[in-house]
Amino acid sequence: MIGIIDYGMGNIFSVKKALERMEIPYFVSGIREDLVEADGYILPGVGAFKDAMQNLHADSLADFIKAEAAKGKPILGICLGMQLLFDESEENGRTKGLGLLKGKVGKLPTKIPDGRQKVPHMGWNELNVQNESFLLTGLDGQHAYFVHSFYVRADRPQTVLASASYGVEVPAVVGSGNVYGTQFHPEKSSTAGLAILKRFAEKVKEGANA
């Protein structure tokens, strides 16, 4: 079963509803003793990086997530939740992240070679698949719904499974080993987003049965 990690950052309603509609079993908790029962995790998140990390530490969840990842349980970070998987962020001063994936989070550029662009990056953007993954089979060129002002600069290009062009190539889906993330909101990204959630859930199930 999927455990949705609730650490007081943002709206988990839509993720829950999307899982329910696809009949994917889940539970929500912010307590490690409960969460440890899960076969895989979704780390959602909307808001500021620093607050999010503070909350995760306050609830003793940061170390917990790292330990669970080390056990090989699949983890999917969504939006801010994806950014938290990386080493650190420059949002409101430097803050250390979970360090499960290599890279830093920085502000999206407003100045681009052919002028200026608006930040936040808000709306539907096309997924350009960069590295083959079970999450993305058949989804190259599909659109996903993004809302963010910061983006990941991954150290290793192979971590970026798909990107979206917004002045820079914004990592849209990342993954390494059993740790995955989507910068966009899969639960708000119509059929492509739901497909990704479903595939992640299948991965969690496989792990549970193994």
């Binding site: 999307a18 936040p120 709306g123 953007n125 708000k188």
Partner: protein, 252 residues
């Protein structure tokens, strides 16, 4: 490349869609959830619900509508109308809306925008601006109370103020064009869009696909909203998108 967004808008009163909607294929054309699903399937990029209930009961019903819609939709949606406090925002967002839109209350108490942005994040807070050309001002003036009361604000100045306070998006309605079906107010839209760093949704005046094209090109809008032409099937989201794609506009 990011796409331009097409956004149908539904007026909801006491839990029902008002302003006639001509959808024979729906079980119940007055049901906001059914209509939301219909537009989702047609390729709408987002939806806006405008709650025009006057009563407390009507507002409570809106929360139920939001919950049911959120349970069925996999595209973002915004709820506006009568949002006066942080508590109102909280109730709507908790029920599953992705964004709330503020209008009159934000003009009366601009810190509502700042507070909302701080609590829920800028991406959740849409500032709706109703503007009308004003000879005396030589520019566009902002109105409150559904366009009934003029304010001291010039539209560009207010848009900038809203952005400074943390709004993540602007829903800009031209009162001059609203309902005219002769096209969006391109001058107004371009002025605001060029002045602010957040996305601008053009609203008011959509009559056909060409009007959307103009809003995105000349008006520099990031998204465009329409109600009646979609509800009365004068055109469809699908048709507009296919025409725009044909003219080189990036669409989902």
């Amino acid at each position: 490349m990011i796409t331009k967004r097409i956004i149908p808008c539904l007026d909801v009163k006491d839990g029902r869609v008002v302003k006639g909607v001509q959808f024979v294929e729906l079980r119940d054309a007055g049901d906001p959830v059914e209509l939301a699903k219909f537009y989702d399937e047609e390729g709408a990029d987002e939806l806006v619900f405008l709650d025009i209930s006057a009563s407390h009961e009507g507002r409570k019903t809106m929360i139920e509508v939001v919950e049911q819609t959120a349970a069925q939709l996999a595209i973002p949606f915004t709820v506006g109308g009568g949002i006066n406090s942080l508590e109102d925002m909280k109730a709507i967002l908790r029920a599953g809306a992705d964004k709330v839109s503020v209008n009159t209350a934000a003009l009366l108490t601009p810190h509502l925008i700042s507070e909302g942005a701080l609590y829920f994040g800028s991406q959740c807070i849409v500032t709706a601006i109703d503007a009308k050309y004003d000879e005396e001002l030589g520019s566009f003036r902002v109105y409150t109370h559904g366009g009934r009361k003029p304010t001291k604000w010039e539209a560009v100045a207010w848009a900038k103020e809203a952005v400074k306070r943390g709004t993540g998006e602007i829903l800009l309605t031209s009162m001059d064009q609203d309902g005219a079906k002769t096209g969006f107010d391109l001058e107004l839209t371009r002025r605001i869009s060029e002045a602010v760093s957040v996305p601008v949704i053009a609203s008011g005046g959509a009559g056909n696909a060409d009007h959307f094209y103009d809003a995105f090109t000349e008006g520099k809008a990031d998204a465009a909203l329409a109600a009646s032409i979609f509800h009365y099937k004068e055109t469809s989201v699908k048709e507009v998108k296919s025409q725009l794609k044909g003219r080189g506009v990036n669409m989902r």
